[in-house]
Symmetry: C2
Subunit: 490 residues, 2 copies
């Protein structure tokens, strides 16, 4: 066996163990008995300990020194392993343990503080986490920018400077569109009624099937916060049911189908290698977003969905497919990111991006965070935050140490805008299929041009190969302006 | 940290990882997408590899040499760790891998051969496994008896000589009872009808609740072959549904509740230590059997069950609770061990025990196994086996290398007989509770006298402490003769 083969065999087992740990997380969020939390945290800690030991195993360094790649694919595999090894090795074991301990503890404290609307109970904990993350960023940055070092974990190669420039270009058009839409004379009607859980789940399964979700390699369960989990032959989705709002269930499902389909669409030869997973959070979000929004909330697909929902619920409060298209895409003022529509979503991200950059750089203290959040929200959205649970306490990310993660959501939207433009031009008759509830031509184009490559190309290169051009915010903004100008008769 | 503490900390993590591997097995049998089998087998192999490395870690030997137990409980912990370490270390890595490979392969081949009724397709594979198991037994026996070395894995301390003597004492009375019952003039009527799945599952859950199954630390799912899985805070049961036979679902459930309750009943302080699991397969089976048979198929509990089932299914084909008690306990000729009643079950075990001892000792060749099985079955049961799927191919055990496992089922029955005698004398009013669908007094007695001790005492000592006397086959046989003489009006 060559050093390359030894390294790959070792990596293969690490990938398998990491997949086991992820499956354990799925179990915890879906089927685990509620009395098993302590035991599960000890099991997860044991898996993490095994994985950490493997990821920092000094033999990896030796194999990397000796391995001789035969082609660019081998070279990419080595680059990805080297990157993870370098990152894992730079973080002192003491810091890794402390971060794991603190963030596992703080998740419960955050949930409690949010439920009690009591930021003062949580901010000291958040400050501890921020200090640890800054220490981690210093270790990773090796003299470079702290925030970029964290961002690199989620969107390899991206920088805050480039994202800030992108966001600056997006903001004026998004703000203008938002104001036009909220002030428009014509406002689409809301959906009212009571929508039984079983029917919602049936519709969600029907939609997943319309997107070609492979039920022999997946399944759907209910979770408090929908997520997808796993890869290769086993990528599962979760959804949730709100009896007054069937769109929550349907579009959460389609969103997670996008994530899962990316993993399931990767070349099977890449399984158990570093190429065998989505290449970045932004790339991942581009799939969930284009499935959910550009495809799923378009006029063609919602026309099909209107008919399915009318049948399933024995009539709807909305008179026809055209009105329903407006209903699905209603823009309303709101505090919560996860409930935001396509127009406002990215503005929520920009707020978080700026605040977390300030926190990491030391320009903003945690004790001033509530004030800073509320001031910025008022400025961006024109409304005062009514209570902390609707403000700084709404997201779990910072509580579990995910600094540098938020911008990947907006990057995903930008990528989805680019991909949608390329897809529409490559498959001109797509809407005829979508109007019949068949997303296969879109899914096939995405699989062929993007999903199957897994980690083979860095994120930016992956998207640019798929769209045959440069990434830009323009297609997303053009699409949004066109869509919402139509819906709101501007 | 002392050597004892180091050893316990190491063991704790091994126990956690082993619990993860078991949870993965549960996932595979209940919720895993069917297209994920290859991936899962690679994940399981990775877990096994990690576990094998830990179980044979040379540091365990050093810690064992240096550890100073403070009391008999510490000493027992050390003994159990030393036992596992010795066993794991005696098996060459090559043999362990080959056994894992062969038995994972052979399970599918066995299932296929059984489906096709084609023993000739499977016997060569079985012979390979037998040779590997004999090699393993030689390594473990260290000059001692081969079969005892295998048996020791499932029932520590037991010997084939002692079990053979026990079985010899049981056989004549069981055979006589079987003949009396099958030849009796009065025969209880069978249950007929169609029993919807949802109602069966509701009844199964109701029965599990009647036994105090802790739903906050467990759950129930459907599996092809019912099993229980997990310990401490998370022990799950599975059941199956046959639409024409609700007893299958109900008594499978109660049986698995017995196994799960044993694990959940262990002193929580023993979690993640070698004391934190049922001490032997026989001890385990004693719990599943006494839950299922002595308690669940008794007149008092079936009286309650009759009412529940009559209500749930809107009437039954059996006229009253007394007739129903006979129906639940019907004895009919049959080829299949897992479908056998209380009277015949142990005769199925004795057949397998004798044949597998001959196989391991080299007195019987695999190529003569079908003939030997069929001859013995005719002799013991008076009926010729009609086809191999109803004969030697019916059980998976040998196909996956479980030689020495079968006798623990009958040992469990003997233990259950002893425990039932002690329980009845300790809780004289038990039947009044059971008649009201409340098994709590029985469960509490079993938890207090047996379950909570986990691995603290060797199996024989555990049972003898619980019953305050010596283990004997007499209570089981007395109970069976009394029960079936009554039902069959002999």
């Amino acid at each position: 066996m060559s050093a390359f083969d030894d390294l790959l065999a070792f990596q293969r087992q690490t990938e398998a163990l990491s997949s086991v740990a992820e499956r354990l997380g799925w179990d915890q969020e879906t089927v685990m008995p509620r009395g098993a939390t302590e035991q599960r945290s000890e099991e997860m800690a044991a898996m993490e300990s095994v994985l950490h030991e493997r990821r920092t195993d000094p033999r990896i360094g030796e194999w990397l020194d000796q391995a001789e790649p035969e082609d660019t694919e081998d070279q990419r595999v080595l680059d990805l392993i080297a990157r993870d090894f370098r990152r894992a090795s730079r973080i002192p074991a003491r810091l890794a343990m402390e971060l794991a301990r603190q963030t596992s503890l703080s998740q419960g404290l955050w949930a409690e503080a949010r439920a009690n609307d009591a930021p003062q109970d949580f901010l000291p904990v958040l400050n501890d986490i921020l200090m640890l993350k800054r220490e981690e960023a210093s270790a990773l940055a090796d003299g470079g920018d702290l925030y970029d070092a964290l961002l690199d974990d989620y969107e390899p190669g991206a920088t805050q400077a480039e994202i800030a420039a992108l966001f600056d270009a997006m903001r004026p058009r998004l703000v203008a569109l938002r104001e036009d839409v909220l002030g428009a004379d014509h406002q689409p009607q809301a959906l009212s009624g009571d929508f039984p859980q079983e029917t919602q789940l049936w519709l969600a399964r029907t939609c997943a099937t319309a997107y070609g979700y492979d039920w022999t390699r997946g399944r759907m369960d209910i979770a408090v916060h929908p997520f997808s989990s796993g890869r290769w032959q086993d990528s599962r989705i979760t959804t949730r049911v709100v009896e007054t709002d069937p769109f929550n269930c349907i579009y959460s499902t389609i969103h997670e189908v996008g994530h899962s389909s990316y993993e399931l669409g990767i070349d099977p030869d890449y399984a158990f290698t570093p190429l065998g997973r989505g290449v970045s959070m932004g790339a991942h979000e581009s799939q969930s977003r284009i499935y959910e929004n550009q495809i799923g909330r378009g006029r063609a697909f919602t026309g099909w969905l209107y008919q399915r929902m009318s049948d399933a619920f024995d009539g709807l409060s909305v008179p026809d497919a055209e009105a329903f298209y407006g209903t699905v895409n209603r823009v309303t003022p709101g505090f919560i990111r996860t409930e935001a529509d396509e127009v406002q979503y990215n503005l929520h991200i920009m707020l978080r991006f700026d605040l977390e950059r300030d926190l990491i750089a030391g320009r903003l203290d945690v004790e001033d965070l509530v004030e800073a959040w509320d001031a910025r929200f008022l400025k961006d959205f024109g409304v005062a935050v009514d209570r902390p649970a609707n403000g700084v306490l709404q997201d779990v990310h910072w509580a579990v140490g995910l600094f540098g993660y938020f911008p990947t959501y907006a990057l995903g939207n930008v990528y989805a805008g680019c991909l949608n433009q390329a897809l529409r031009s490559a498959v001109p008759g797509l809407d005829r299929f979508l109007a019949a509830g068949d997303a296969a031509p879109a899914v096939e184009w995405l699989r062929e041009n993007m999903q199957r490559h897994g980690g083979l190309y860095p994120p930016r290169e992956l998207i640019e190969r798929a769209i045959g051009g440069e990434i830009s915010e323009a297609p997303l903004l053009d699409y949004l302006e066109d869509k919402f100008t139509g819906i709101y008769r501007l």
